[in-house]
């Protein structure tokens, strides 16, 4: 079954870990061709929300819908439309960059996995390091390979958890350009980040989280740092 969708909707989503409530009644909608920012301090629940959207966890309460679909009956077909870059890079350090990308392209059913891996490495600007093991790469280079791994199957929903970590200014600017490109291609991008300066001017909407609760949502946020201070100031965090 091939599925596609043009929006992701979270309705009153909560997630508990035992007695601890990681997320409480979160609701939002992210449409095709937009970038949604998940902003908040450490422990706000951003990574949990990303894991829920990625179907790696199930909500304890509430519902996440991908267009008309829910995650349960669509399983593997839905996962084909999702790309995720997490805190950890999901790469095998013993394998070369090309082997890593070929492996994941194969898992996602690419007709020519090796060609897809080569194209992805070119996009990352790392073609000359294709045959070097990931273990020999700097953090920034690994991050660029990991981003290409997440995008190798051209997903509709792109989930990025702190994607600017370890990137130098040039690489961070390239990533911002890449995210704008994904938006122009119609992807739904959900970006969890602490880096308000880099996210400034990039987001179409921002969801502010604190202690697992939704503090506010702001459409087309400008001057993100001051908006963040204002919003979080209301709840005692800055």
């Amino acid at each position: 079954m091939i599925i596609d969708f043009d929006q992701v909707t979270a309705a009153d989503v909560s997630r508990h870990f035992g007695r601890r409530r990681a997320l409480s009644r979160i609701s939002f909608r992210a449409g095709s061709g937009t970038i949604l920012g998940l902003l908040g301090p450490n422990g706000a629940g951003k990574s949990t929300m990303i894991a829920l959207l990625a179907t790696l966890m199930r909500p304890s309460e509430g519902d996440i819908r991908y267009g008309p679909h829910t995650s349960k009956p669509t399983g593997a077909s839905l996962r084909r439309t999702i790309g995720i870059l997490g805190h950890d890079l999901f790469l095998y350090p013993e394998l070369t960059a090309h082997e890593n990308l070929t492996f994941f392209a194969g898992l996602y059913g690419a007709a020519n996995a090796r060609a897809a891996a080569s194209a992805a490495l070119e996009q990352a600007g790392l073609s000359d390091r294709a045959d070097d093991p990931i273990a020999s790469f700097s953090r920034g280079m690994r991050q660029r390979v990991a981003l290409e791994r997440a995008l190798i199957h051209r997903p509709r929903l792109v989930l990025l958890d702190e994607p600017f970590t370890g990137l130098d200014d040039a690489s961070a600017a390239a990533l911002v350009g890449r995210l704008r490109g994904l938006r122009a291609e119609g992807a739904i991008v959900v970006l969890a980040t602490h880096d308000l300066d880099l996210a400034d001017g990039l987001l179409d909407s921002a969801l502010f989280l604190r202690d697992g609760r939704m503090v506010d949502t702001v459409a087309r946020p400008d001057a993100l740092r001051s908006t963040y201070r204002t919003v979080m100031g209301r709840t005692g965090v800055s």
Binding site: M57, A76, R79, P93, E94, F103, L107, G109, H153
Partner: protein, 226 residues
Amino acid sequence: MTFGRTAWLVLRKDLTVEVRSLEIAYTTLFFAISCVLFFAFALVKEGKAPEDGAAGILWIAIAFAGTLALGRTFERERQSETLRALLMAPAARPAIYVGKLLGIIALLSAAELVLVPLVAFLFQAPLLSHPFWLSAVLISGTIGFSAVGTLFSAMLVRARSRDVLLPVLLYPITVPVIIAGVRATAALLEPDVELSLVRFWVALLVALDVVFVTLALWTFEPLMTD
């Protein structure tokens, strides 16, 4: 993406990583050989090995080395959270289990290729006199042991005390496999081998394999989702 292709990709990836690092192969072999040597030092007196000891020692070495390999193979997936990436792939999740299982079986089979002649030599056991039946016993026993072990290792990958919990959970469940493996191997070491008895133990091992693999395929996805 077919089930078989996913399993093959995971298996090939695991074997490539292992060939590069040789980490599990070296530690497993070192541990298994040490285990056999310690038993040989303790039990072989004036060049005479105890009767019936070889079968038990061979399976102890396989079980201990297997536990070590099982722990490491999923530890590797945990370090860069690659297990999450595998679970995110649009493939049947049981196919990932099968790929990992085949990798463990391949590693343990390689260890057994060294262990069998070593045990045969140190304990003067005619292990190689019935190579077909010995292979049948070892393969079916290894599949049963690894089927349960692979599932438990995956399940415990995020548990803090996984190194302690794995053997605690694994050995009680795989006791029937170990008993059948030891009895079948011991039957092969008798002066007059009773093939009907060996056949019975191998049939039991195959039945256990079917039960364990079926249960693992059935439970892998729900266990790994949350």
